[in-house]
């Protein structure tokens, strides 16, 4: 399944016209200890670049933007009890929400894994 990345450090893994979204391992390492995740509600409509979720760390609250437009189908309920999953497994069990895509053409604006790695290496 293809996985794409944004310059704002989100990842999105696409399967057909649905996708899973999270923040990257780099992002969690920069945020530090995550204490709470505000998840979008199922059914919420999000536009590309909209703030869809907020990740609270000991440091600060940070927005997570929708990498593409679509409709949220599910938030990761496991994070309600264990927000630290985003620290321990940001690109796996620490996913934030699932969504349907309204325009898969928007994926063309995102980076693949190699491009994202190169992007992070420049930071």
């Amino acid at each position: 399944m293809p996985r794409y990345f944004t310059k704002d450090h989100e990842w999105i893994e696409v399967e057909g016209d649905t996708a899973t979204v999270g923040i990257t391992d780099y992002a969690q390492s920069q945020l530090g200890d995550i204490t709470f995740v505000e998840l979008p509600d199922a059914g919420a409509s999000v536009g590309k670049g909209d703030s869809a979720s907020v990740v609270d760390s000991v440091k600060a609250a940070s927005d997570v933007y929708a990498p593409v437009s679509g409709t949220v189908t599910e938030g990761n309920g496991a994070l309600e009890e264990e927000p630290e999953l985003v620290n321990s497994d940001a690109e796996g069990a620490g996913w934030l929400w699932r969504m349907t895509l309204s325009d898969s053409g928007e994926l063309a604006d995102l980076m693949d894994e190699n491009a994202y790695k190169a992007f992070v290496a420049e930071l």
Binding site: K7, D8, H9, E10, I23, A27, Q30, L31, G32, D33, T35, F36, E38, S51, V54, V55, D56, S57, V58, K59, A60, A61, S62, D63, V64, Y65, P83, L123
Partner: protein, 398 residues
Amino acid sequence: MVPQLRAESWLVSDLNDIPADEFEDSDVPAGPLLLPLDAWHRAKGGRMVDFAGYSMPVQYEGIMAEHLWTRTHAGLFDVSHMGQLYISGEGVEAALEAVLPIDLSTLPLGGVRYSLLLDETGGILDDLMVTRWATGFYLVVNGATKWDDIAHLREHLPDAVTINHLDESALLALQGPQVAEALAPLVEGEQPLSALSFMRGAAFKLGGVDAWISRSGYTGEDGFEISIPAESAAAVADLIAAQPQVRPIGLGARDSLRLEAGLPLYGHDMTAEMEPVEAGLAFGINKRRRTEGGFPGAERVIEALMEGPSRRRVGLAIEGRMAAREGAQVLVGETPVGIVTSGGFSPSLERPIAMAYVEAPHSAEGTRLFIDVRGRKLAATIVPMPFVPHRYHRKGAA
């Protein structure tokens, strides 16, 4: 994600993909100043951010771990960005009493006292520590305000009084329940380190270096603050950090520790818009000065002492796990009654806590309120501060 900072932008500016130089304070044209321990912090893995005009470590291994280590062992903080001043000269005692609401007649040699720099209307310009030395007074002021403080003091102190900015001194803080056992083997002095009780200081040799050590700090724990020559700072930091009880601690945990201890942060929980009584800092107005006055803003401060302030700084325990941060509105029903001035997740209590200014009629302990965080109304209760009990080494205590 991340870049759109809601508060505390100094903590996360390193994440922003905008070049760092766009964030620099316009007062610091040449970029952040480097601390004497700059290379030491980087070698220890410190993540550096701009704060108070300096490049400073926000964390090493992580804020949560550093916070909890300090509460159980001993944490070493570099606070060399703070201003260290030595005030001396003929008539210095009366001159300082004219600018501070302090009673120096009751401050013994080596005694340390909390005080406040106030403007003519009683607004808080800074908070500071005043220590009596043999021939003058040693002041420690906040880093972000030190240049303004020095200008203010120069303007208001008479010419016979000299202000020395001890800008070739570093300042370390060692905080936590194991500080005494960590530091005692390293120091020599006319008296043992154990003779220092809370808010007392004395001169020692620390690894052969002249050090002024006071038993004080900003975490609520037992602790020492250690002033040493900047050129010896790395050697002294190495010596202290080599003790098994000690780990280096960054600004992030310094903030969460002081919040749990109920200690206000200048520029957030107290500003020139606030007077000491509403800020909960009436103890900084010494008894004799409450009747005699004669300090800047005395009229308004004494009135607030007599009449009670119209709002008060309170502690809030918040339900759930979502933190409320600076700027969030405090509500009774739908009616705004106050504003959060600092807040975050408490690592010790494992819940969000905050400080807020709340209108006096709604400021009693036990009052249930709501905090508006991004449109969500979080339930909160006013609780006494400190949130986590202080464990100072008070005189007469074991």
